[in-house]
């Protein structure tokens, strides 16, 4: 199974130009015989949208942009980032998994960063679930950027039987990582979290970040794929555009679980009980 990671840089607030850019990269992935292509967070719109949030929002069920992507998804499965216009009139930072001409799943970002340089909760409504679904990558779960930094999000996907976690990201680089690391300090954090989650869940972790600049912030790149049990399979360039192909062997999930039977021995009912007890006594 070959996965393409498109570490690209969308045009801020121009969905039509970004759709063209997606088509070019999808063609490239198809030519290279990839079966799945993953784009970064908000790949159809750019990240720092502010008041452009509503102006770039799409409804996957009716949007012509999705119509075109769904057509292309008959040739290759596509994971894309976009602003979802909900029926309630809210906007979500969302990821869609398209395959065989159908939308298999839409995940709405649950953990919206809202501190320091981030202001997502000012413009987006939060998602409320982490669901797994069947895809060409087996039982699959989607996360968006900050979702990966929450242990609880990874656990929810594990409890849902996840075999491949796909994280789409628009992580800006921060901090110079020592004398010759050749990366922002924050890139190492994402790699650690990805390695760890692949270990915890005995699953593949596919992390696709973006590149380019928006209002002076540099996106850190460094997309990667971890095999179950934390082994790094591939990593894209830091802080610049890249396009990488990664071949994964899905039977590695089963092999990892024979060595480390953590998913077999998991006890979600204990977690549910513990959480209910904690919540019943919770004071803000």
């Amino acid at each position: 199974m070959r996965i393409a990671l498109a570490q690209m840089s969308p045009v801020l607030g121009d969905v039509n130009r970004n759709l063209k850019l997606h088509k070019t990269l999808i063609d490239q992935a198809v030519r290279k015989r990839a079966e799945v292509i993953v784009f970064p967070e908000l790949s159809l719109t750019g990240y720092k949208l502010r008041d452009l949030t509503g102006e770039t929002a799409l409804a996957p069920g009716t949007s012509p942009v999705f119509g075109e992507l769904l057509k292309l998804s008959r040739r290759i499965a596509i994971v894309v980032g976009f602003v979802e216009a909900s029926e309630a009139g809210h906007h979500h930072n969302a990821a869609a998994f398209l395959s065989g001409g159908r939308t298999l799943h839409v995940h709405r970002k649950v953990f919206l960063p809202n501190f320091g340089m981030f202001e997502e909760a000012r413009f987006f409504a939060p998602g409320r679930d982490f669901e797994t679904f069947d895809s060409p990558l087996g039982r699959t779960g989607l996360m968006i950027c900050r979702d990966l930094l929450h242990l609880s999000a990874g656990y929810a996907l594990q409890a849902g039987g996840v075999e491949t976690v796909i994280v789409i990201s628009a992580a800006p680089g921060r901090g110079s990582a020592g004398r010759s690391a050749g990366a922002f300090a924050t890139s190492r954090m994402w790699e650690r979290m990805g390695e760890t989650l692949s270990f915890f869940t005995s699953s593949f972790v596919v992390y696709c970040n973006r590149a380019g600049f928006e209002d002076g912030a540099a996106f850190a790149g460094g997309s990667f794929v971890c095999a179950p049990s934390g082994r790094l399979l591939a990593k894209a360039a830091y802080a610049e555009r890249d396009f990488i192909l990664v071949d994964i062997d899905r039977s590695e999930v089963v092999r990892a679980r024979k060595t480390w039977p953590w998913t077999r021995d998991d006890k979600p009912e204990v977690m549910l009980h513990a959480l209910q007890r904690i919540l019943s006594r919770h004071e803000d």
């Binding site: 045009v11 801020l12 607030g13 121009d14 750019g46 720092k48 949208l49 502010r50 008041d51 452009l52 680089g173 110079s176 990582a177 020592g178 004398r179 010759s180 690391a181 050749g182 990366a183 922002f184 380019g212 600049f213 928006e214 209002d215 002076g216 540099a218 830091y238 802080a239 610049e240």
Partner: protein
């Protein structure tokens, strides 16, 4: 406060190239003072855009600092960028003949704004964007002239302290003469930044780094052994110069107001 110079250089060159290209420009220009910051900005721009696409304007006031003009010319030759010397004394003197003053601050500010005015005219003339040269140390303490040397289209150095710009300068192998030079705003003969600010850039940067990057409190910084009077002076300068780092406030009347709730990114549509 050590930076990975090779990586930071790569990011800053990409920043200059992408910001200019997104705005539809291939060329950049900047004022060359003969000092360290403009030398680093020029070297980054030359690497980002190609030396032929960078214009360094050398804008002395008469013959007050002939050594700086020579250093700036040497740098331009070394980087193979285009350069031009233009004396701003006739423009500045014409103004002060009408409105005489011996106030060094007023005269210095006028010169900084005259240079800005020339740079913006050349920006249109050359179809080139102005690359700023202000560093994080001087931006934080407000050591610059608003609408003067602070004015630019993009600023690659604004998140690097002066001592970090020095690291980058050494990495970029800039002429030793420029590396060793005492930092000065060049507003009057004998002026140096460090005597005006009242402490060395090493000490200033270590205090700023703790207050700003590490978000330490005044008490924590003083607890590390820095003189309370110096920490207080820096905190006061940061606060008093906030106006130089923001657009002026707009009186809000309507339901949607520029700067309040008309919120579009700088790179809108780019």
């Amino acid at each position: 406060m050590k930076i990975d110079c090779a990586f930071v250089g790569r990011v800053l060159r990409a920043f200059i190239r992408e910001e200019l290209n997104k705005a539809g420009f291939r060329r950049g220009l900047l004022g060359l003072s003969g000092g360290l910051d403009s030398a680093v900005a020029a070297a980054l721009a030359a690497g980002a855009l190609g030396p032929k696409n960078v214009l360094g304007l050398i804008l002395p006031y008469g013959r007050s600092f002939p050594g700086d003009v020579e250093d700036a010319q040497l740098l331009a030759r070394r980087l193979k960028i285009r350069s031009r010397v233009l004396d701003i004394a006739p423009m500045v003197d014409a103004y002060f003949r009408a409105v005489p003053t011996a106030d060094r601050t007023r005269r210095g500010n006028k010169m900084a704004r005259e240079r800005m005015s020339v740079l913006y005219d050349f920006s249109v003339r050359e179809k080139a964007l102005i690359i700023g040269t202000s560093n994080k140390s001087e931006l934080l303490i407000g050591y610059g002239t608003i609408h003067g040397d602070l004015a630019c289209a993009v600023n690659p150095l604004g998140d690097l302290y002066k001592t970090q710009v020095r690291q980058l300068a050494a990495h970029l192998r800039l002429p030793a003469k420029i590396l060793r030079k005492k930092p000065t705003a060049g507003l009057w003969p004998g002026q140096t930044d460090e005597s005006e600010i009242g402490l060395s850039y090493e000490e200033l940067d270590r205090i700023l780094y703790r207050l700003v990057d590490l978000r330490l409190s005044r008490a924590e910084v003083v607890g590390e052994g820095f003189a309370a009077s110096r920490v207080d002076r820096i905190l006061d300068r940061i606060k008093r110069s906030q106006f130089k780092r923001c657009l002026p406030p707009i009186a809000k009347i309507s339901g949607r107001t520029i700067g309040h709730d008309f919120l579009y990114p700088y790179d809108w549509g780019r």
